[in-house]
């Protein structure tokens, strides 16, 4: 069966530890994820959920792999739009690599099925979130506060 997928690579002037911290600390997440934050202990096999700032569950799933500060794999499903939830479980792999001069962060998000609404939605979301994350780590402030 074919897959739909989204890949985004960004380079950040930072350290792998700081990028890992930003990806896993709820208070830091809220700053660049437009108020959303994760609830989990980040251990393999543990439940994971992504909540809106008002506490509603946006997405939910499970931590599949967790290797600080290098690699995080999450089983991930939308929970608030029935037609997207029906597309099932996606897999999101976050990879952090130290390069000479910068940290490379790669997001690879994939789901079974061609042209899925889920991948279309995250393709709009990830660039905003990762752009904000890079700005936050490099300048101390995000690029934009509100979801445009």
């Amino acid at each position: 069966m074919s897959k739909s997928s989204f890949v985004y690579v960004t380079y950040i002037r930072s350290t792998p530890e700081k990028v890992w911290q930003a990806l896993t600390d709820p208070a830091t997440m809220k700053k660049y994820w437009f108020g959303a934050f994760a609830e989990t202990d980040w251990k393999p096999g543990s439940p994971w959920s992504l909540k809106f700032d008002d506490g509603r569950v946006a997405d939910a799933g499970e931590i599949l792999e967790s290797e600080p500060p290098k690699r995080l794999v999450i089983r991930w499903r939308n929970e608030w739009k029935p037609e997207i939830k029906a597309e099932g479980w996606s897999r999101c792999t976050m990879t952090i690599e130290l390069h000479q001069g910068a940290v490379q962060l790669t997001i690879h998000h994939e789901l079974e099925g061609e042209g899925t609404k889920f991948i279309e939605a995250v393709s709009g979301g990830w660039p905003r979130i990762l752009s904000n994350l890079k700005s936050l780590l490099e300048t101390g402030a995000v690029a934009y506060e509100t979801k445009a």
Binding site: V9, Y11, G101, A102, E138
Partner: protein, 126 residues
């Protein structure tokens, strides 16, 4: 970069020693919203014979930020191995651009052309 700022103008990217790296023609010059040009890699062995690709930058206001979308379009069934060069290069270039604009300092990421791309170009010549 050395560009004639008009449709049909010449576009070149130069190496630090002034040799031509990339050459093409401006397809659209609409500051500050859209810039599009054809793109032939002249400075690397085997690449100049490939069909030109089309590189487009689109700039839009997105809330308090500017959204930059870069598109590389090909008119032929280009092998994935050749695309690997752009896939590794563009994220580093665009990340460095963002750092430069936001902090005043570009990133200095050490990079080399992917071996699979160089091998694929050699394969095409045979």
């Amino acid at each position: 970069v050395d560009v004639e700022p008009r449709t049909g103008g010449a576009f070149r990217m130069l190496y630090p020693d002034d040799r031509t790296h990339i050459a093409g023609e401006v397809v659209e010059w609409s500051p500050p919203r859209r810039f599009s040009c054809t793109w032939v890699v002249e400075g690397m062995p085997g690449f100049a014979e490939l069909p030109a690709c089309l590189v487009t930058y689109e700039i839009e206001q997105a809330g308090e930020a500017a959204r930059l979308t870069m598109t590389e379009a090909h008119s032929w069934d280009i092998p994935d191995a050749i695309l690997s060069g752009g896939r590794s290069g563009w994220p580093a270039i665009l990340s460095s651009l963002k750092s430069l604009l936001e902090t005043g300092n570009p990133l200095t990421i050490k990079m080399a052309p992917p071996q699979e791309m160089l091998d694929a170009i050699k394969g095409l010549k045979k």
